[in-house]
């Protein structure tokens, strides 16, 4: 199995390290900067960062076209990455890959001083709560019929899956808990 981390901007090193720990012995993890690298992947992580910046660089270097040519590719978007997976971004005219039938609201909890950490119930990962770090985080405001909601903060959806796509409003790569990265690796490997 080969999993790539999109390395245009954002916390790429943290995702590379988390994914390497998550799939140790099961495959390789590479940093992806070029469209042609997308062809060889089973899974792609779009990291946290600025969605406007990453979106522009995706288009500039035709990575959107390379992803479009690979409908079987599993994709895990965290924070900015989740925004880039959404069909609809509320209130902003900006680029997205439009792969998941979800709407997102950017900076939904407010500005940086409202960023927070919280223990989250994620039933698909087991009983132990997941310590989740939210930084200027988005929320998912609408989930289509084929979208499975996996976690909420109060009433706001913060983790959702649609087939081979996984959108996450927080940053699992900033903690030592690799359960969510392993969950994605299982999707990419076709086990889930």
């Amino acid at each position: 199995m080969k999993v790539g981390v999109l390395a245009l901007q954002g916390d790429v090193a943290e995702h590379l390290s988390a994914m390497k720990r998550a799939i140790r012995g099961r495959g390789d993890v590479i940093a992806v900067k070029k469209a042609e690298q997308v062809e060889e992947l089973d899974g792609l992580v779009i990291p946290g960062g600025e969605s406007t910046t990453i979106g522009k660089l995706i288009q500039k270097y035709d990575i959107d076209k390379a992803i479009g040519a690979r409908p079987e590719l599993a994709i895990f978007g965290t924070c900015a990455g989740a925004i880039l997976l959404a069909k609809e971004i509320e209130g902003y005219k900006q680029f997205s890959l439009r792969l998941m039938d979800i709407a997102v609201a950017r900076n939904a909890f407010g500005r940086q001083r409202e960023s927070f950490e919280v223990d989250l119930e994620i039933p698909v990962l087991g009983e132990k709560p997941f310590h989740a770090v939210f930084i200027r985080a988005p929320i998912i405001t609408r989930a289509g019929r084929d979208v499975e909601v996996l976690a909420k903060v109060d009433d706001a959806i913060v983790l959702a899956r649609q087939g081979r796509y996984l959108a996450c409003a927080f940053h699992p790569e900033l903690t030592r808990d690799t359960r969510l990265h392993r969950y994605f690796a299982d999707i990419a490997a076709g086990n889930l």
């Binding site: 390395a7 245009l8 901007q9 954002g10 916390d11 790429v12 090193a13 943290e14 900067k33 946290g48 960062g49 600025e50 406007t52 910046t53 522009k56 660089l57 500039k60 924070c79 900015a80 902003y92 950017r106 900076n107 407010g110 500005r111 940086q112 001083r113 409202e114 960023s115 927070f116 950490e117 919280v118 770090v133 939210f134 930084i135 200027r136 940053h171 900033l174």
Partner: protein
């Protein structure tokens, strides 16, 4: 639910990595920066080159000016306070800025004490010329470090000097025996626990950007290759002949800093860079980098 923790403060800086933070003085410039792919903007009344030219006391910008910029863009907005001026910082935190730069570019308010940055929910970035300065700022609660370079000079030489010093001192710590770290901490004038952490990690425990003199895509590539996590461009964009093209080019150069064929394309036809200053023509009292060590 816990807000303003070390993790969320350092975490925002981690999200900015591989990106470019641009100085802007109004909503129009902020829009240009965002459209070019900036990861954040620094809201200012004047860019450093103009602060240098104007002389007098440089202070926190008018909150109305900062608010105008916050309303204009969706990316994080940073703003500067004078070194040690915690009241300016309290005002910016209340205003809701996403990051505060306790900056030597403004006239220091306190020649001994920096702000106790642990007391704030909003993260701080501080300048440093070497590892000791960086670790003292982190001890005070800085969530991000940038090289000081020489702001408003358009000259990369000081940023290079400071980045090489920081990275070289980190490499030296990595090779030390544990019993040698105590003396290293004494030499660096930095807390032993942070010195140990750096020796173990082989890097700073927070994100480290390059700043102070970056004017071209090649400058951005140089600083990234020397180990910067990202780039601040102050005067370099809006003091150049074609800010839009230069801003886009520096963003792309920061991402693709090690692809030299692409850098050749990126660097073509982007107009004249800012004029810049030969640092050796500046007297000691004109240097901004010696403030707040």
């Amino acid at each position: 639910m816990r807000k303003g923790t070390v993790k969320v403060k350092r975490g925002l800086a981690q999200m900015l990595k591989g990106g470019v933070i641009m100085d802007v003085t109004n909503a129009e410039q902020a829009g240009i920066a965002e459209d070019a792919g900036a990861v954040a903007v620094m809201a200012l009344e004047k860019v450093p080159a103009d602060i240098r030219a104007a002389g007098g006391v440089a202070r926190m910008a008018d909150p109305a000016k900062i608010q105008e910029i916050m309303d204009a863009v969706s990316i994080p907005v940073m703003a500067k306070v004078r070194i040690g001026h915690f009241a300016e910082a309290q005002i910016l935190e209340a205003l809701g800025v996403d990051f505060i730069d306790e900056s030597e570019v403004l006239t220091p308010a306190d020649e001994q004490n920096h702000i106790d940055k642990h007391k704030f929910k909003v993260p701080f970035v501080c300048g440093a010329r070497n590892l000791g300065e960086a670790l003292r700022r982190i001890a005070e609660g800085a969530a991000m470090i940038r090289t000081k370079g020489e702001a408003g000079s358009g000259n990369i030489v000081e940023a290079v000097r400071h980045m090489r010093l920081v990275m070289g001192e980190i490499r030296r710590l990595k090779g030390m025996r544990e019993d040698e770290l105590y003396y290293a901490a004494k030499e660096l004038q930095a807390p032993i626990d942070l010195v140990r952490e750096v020796a173990k990690l082989g890097r700073l425990p927070v994100v480290n950007f390059a700043a102070g003199g970056i004017a071209t895509p090649a400058d951005a590539s140089l600083m990234m290759q020397l180990g910067a996590d990202g780039i601040f461009v102050g005067s370099g964009i809006f003091k150049s002949s074609d800010p839009e093209a230069r801003a886009r080019a520096i963003v792309e150069a920061t991402t693709h800093y090690d692809d030299f064929e692409l850098l050749a394309e990126i660097s073509k036809g982007i107009g004249e860079p800012m004029k810049g200053i030969d640092i050796r023509q500046l007297s000691e009292k004109e240097l901004l980098q010696v403030r707040g060590v």
